[in-house]
Subunit: 409 residues, 2 copies
């Protein structure tokens, strides 16, 4: 008997979360086991309010599928909603599973990162505990690349490509003047330095930037930072480019950016990190009296659809499709993962892994992929990242700008 | 008799200043009147130190010309060097014209913006006063689009395209959550709002951003700004996107960003403007208690070679070639300009205009191209900008990243 399915998106935007949505929806629409394919508006929050869109209508033609694949952010809208423990409050669970029953939904596909996998974990546990016939499948998504079990995450390759291209261009911009300068590029990444590490891909013959890379996996020291810059200036490097993670911390556990006005705390208890580059800019000016400039890459690194990685898009689309295959095979309480089969030629396969080992966990950069001095990455890390940024999609352009699929259209 | 020529680049980087360099160099190398083609390293500053490169060697093949055309920043390096008045100090002039004589240089092509045209003006005046047989030609360059006499400036179209695409993407990023938010995008432009106005190109069916646009041509008022946002929130707009120029000022003449630590002053007496978005973010948080985020587009808007305007690149290349033609026709003390022949179809021609009416002058956005409320642009301004962002170059890519021509290679 056919059952309907619902797909949700959750957490921060990426360049390819919609490619995964397209993949899940396309495979579900084609599946003999699945009837209607719903999208929930604004994740679990919209689900609780019964806000659905019909994905069959959204993806009426091949053109819509292709447009959705190149659209950044989150077509269905997102949320940052944490389900309560079902031991203390079953109310939202009852609402959700009543809606599943009402709409004859047998499959939930939830595309998101660490926090969203907590939702997958909890809904699956509830379904199992109360004998509900709904399969819950997690589809990975995060630019942060910090999900365990998977070789890398959908969204990371595109962010890495945007960051590497931007750092190369910022480097060229900085090098036009012959007066000494230090440019500090602040890159996203609270606890994991994967995104900041991608700045290293910018290097090549004629592109010396970035000269220094600081990840949150290594404790930050102002003294060492200024010593590193002094050494480069002493070696005759005129324009020093630094890549630094927004999440770098001092030995005492405080973030470098703390004390700025932006350190608000979100619903998951995360501090809003911002201002690291500006603070370091001031420290450089004070120490050396030379030109210094902080550049925050900001949200564009996660939503830069005009320069995404084709490898990332195609993998994100495929993992969406594979999640439907896993559902057809009876899986529930799993997240789909990438398994790297080989580096050269680069090849991955897809698998389902139990969500228990993934939800709320973070995978950081291993210490041995950071150099001993803690101010650069190793060639092994470069080899890991390089294939993920390859390929450029044929972006549809109208009036000089990329065309995206919007629910507001 | 053949004479040699020298080309310089000056002022801030753009995505197409190297396309103009390629155009001048290619035409000069092909000219029957010109022998050697030199590039001066770091503008007039490198000229004073006799630092030349041989452009014939740099552009040995067609591949190098194409690479230079897609390379952002400034291949030859730049400077911010102001020549003294020749009435008070002739020393640097004597050094420069002695070098011209030594290297048999009869033509100087100087690619730059307002400040650089001051150099063209002064060198030409000196040559005429002392009967030196050197022709001095200015080639326009600035993302700011603030040079008089020319319909628009090389570099503006690419910056406008980058800004419009980025604002569209930032808008999509902001709209994923259903909680009210205000995102403030800070765009370059000290006195002229052309770049900020380009944010309006981001709009379209399904792309409401930006909702508000503030240019430096209209005095800024915190009260009006907050009233504008309140009105939008009242109309049910959940995620408000604002484009604001870094150069907006209050009625008393102070910049909105003043008081931040970044207000240093450069050699031309310009304040380093930065922090406008962050300050407005705080004002929004204080007034409405909702999520607010300041995003500074920063240097990427001027050096984003990975998403430049093909129209801009080809015009910048062509105006370089036309400057050599003007030199062959005996012009000196002129800057090349674009003359718009028609809007539909978009067509421009090239001409030489006397530098006296250009150097040190700024062309701002006419008041009638800004709406009465001072928070948006008019359809006329949109029609003016639209053709300038059209077309995408075939960017050469290697290992997933754009390839650029670098002197450091």
């Amino acid at each position: 008997m056919k059952k309907n399915c619902v797909i949700g998106q959750s957490g921060g935007p990426t360049a390819v979360i919609n490619a995964s949505l397209a993949g899940v929806a396309a495979a579900a629409l084609a599946s003999p086991h699945i009837g209607k394919v719903y999208g929930m508006v604004n994740g679990v929050q919209g689900l609780l309010e019964e806000q659905f869109v019909d994905m069959g209508e959204v993806l009426a033609g091949e053109e819509q599928v292709e447009l959705l694949k190149q659209t950044p952010a989150a077509y269905l809208g997102s949320c940052r909603f944490r389900l309560p423990d079902m031991e203390t409050d079953t109310k939202p669970y009852e609402v959700i599973f009543a809606l599943f029953e009402k709409h004859e939904i047998g499959y939930l596909f939830y595309i998101g990162g660490n926090d969203s996998m907590d939702t997958v974990h909890k809904l699956d546990a509830y379904a199992k505990k109360y004998g509900k016939d709904v399969q819950i499948i997690g589809v990975p998504k995060t630019i942060d690349n910090d999900l365990p079990e998977t070789d890398h995450t959908p969204g990371y390759g595109s962010a890495a490509k945007y960051i590497a291209a931007s750092v190369r261009e910022i480097g060229m911009d900085s090098m036009v003047y012959c007066h000494p300068s230090v440019t500090i590029v602040e890159i996203m990444g609270r606890n994991a330095g994967w995104l900041t590490a991608a700045a290293a891909l910018a290097r090549g013959e004629g592109y010396p930037a970035p000269h220094l890379i600081y990840l949150p996996e290594v404790l930050f020291s102002d003294k060492q930072f200024l010593t590193d810059i002094e050494a480069l200036l002493g070696q005759g490097v005129v324009n020093v480019i630094v890549a630094v993670s927004e999440g770098v911390r001092y030995e005492d556990g405080t973030y470098v950016c703390e004390g700025t006005q932006d350190c608000a705390t979100d619903v998951f208890g995360h501090k809003n990190l911002s201002g690291t580059a500006k603070i370091l800019e001031q420290k450089v000016k004070a120490a050396f009296g030379i030109k210094a400039r902080g550049v925050e890459l900001n949200v564009l690194q996660r939503c830069g659809g005009h320069f995404a990685s084709l490898t990332d898009i195609e993998e994100a689309f495929r993992v969406g499709k594979e999640s439907v295959r896993a559902a057809e095979q009876g899986e529930s309480g799993v997240m789909m993962v990438y398994v790297r089969e080989s580096d050269a030629p680069y090849q991955i396969s897809y698998a389902a892994r139990h969500i228990g080992g993934i939800a709320n966990m973070e995978k950081v950069v291993p210490r041995h992929w950071i150099n001993a001095a803690g101010n650069d990455v190793t060639p092994e890390l470069l080899r890991y990242m390089q294939p993920l940024i390859l390929g450029e999609p044929e972006v549809r352009i109208q009036n000089g700008l990329p065309v995206y699929l919007s629910r507001q259209a």
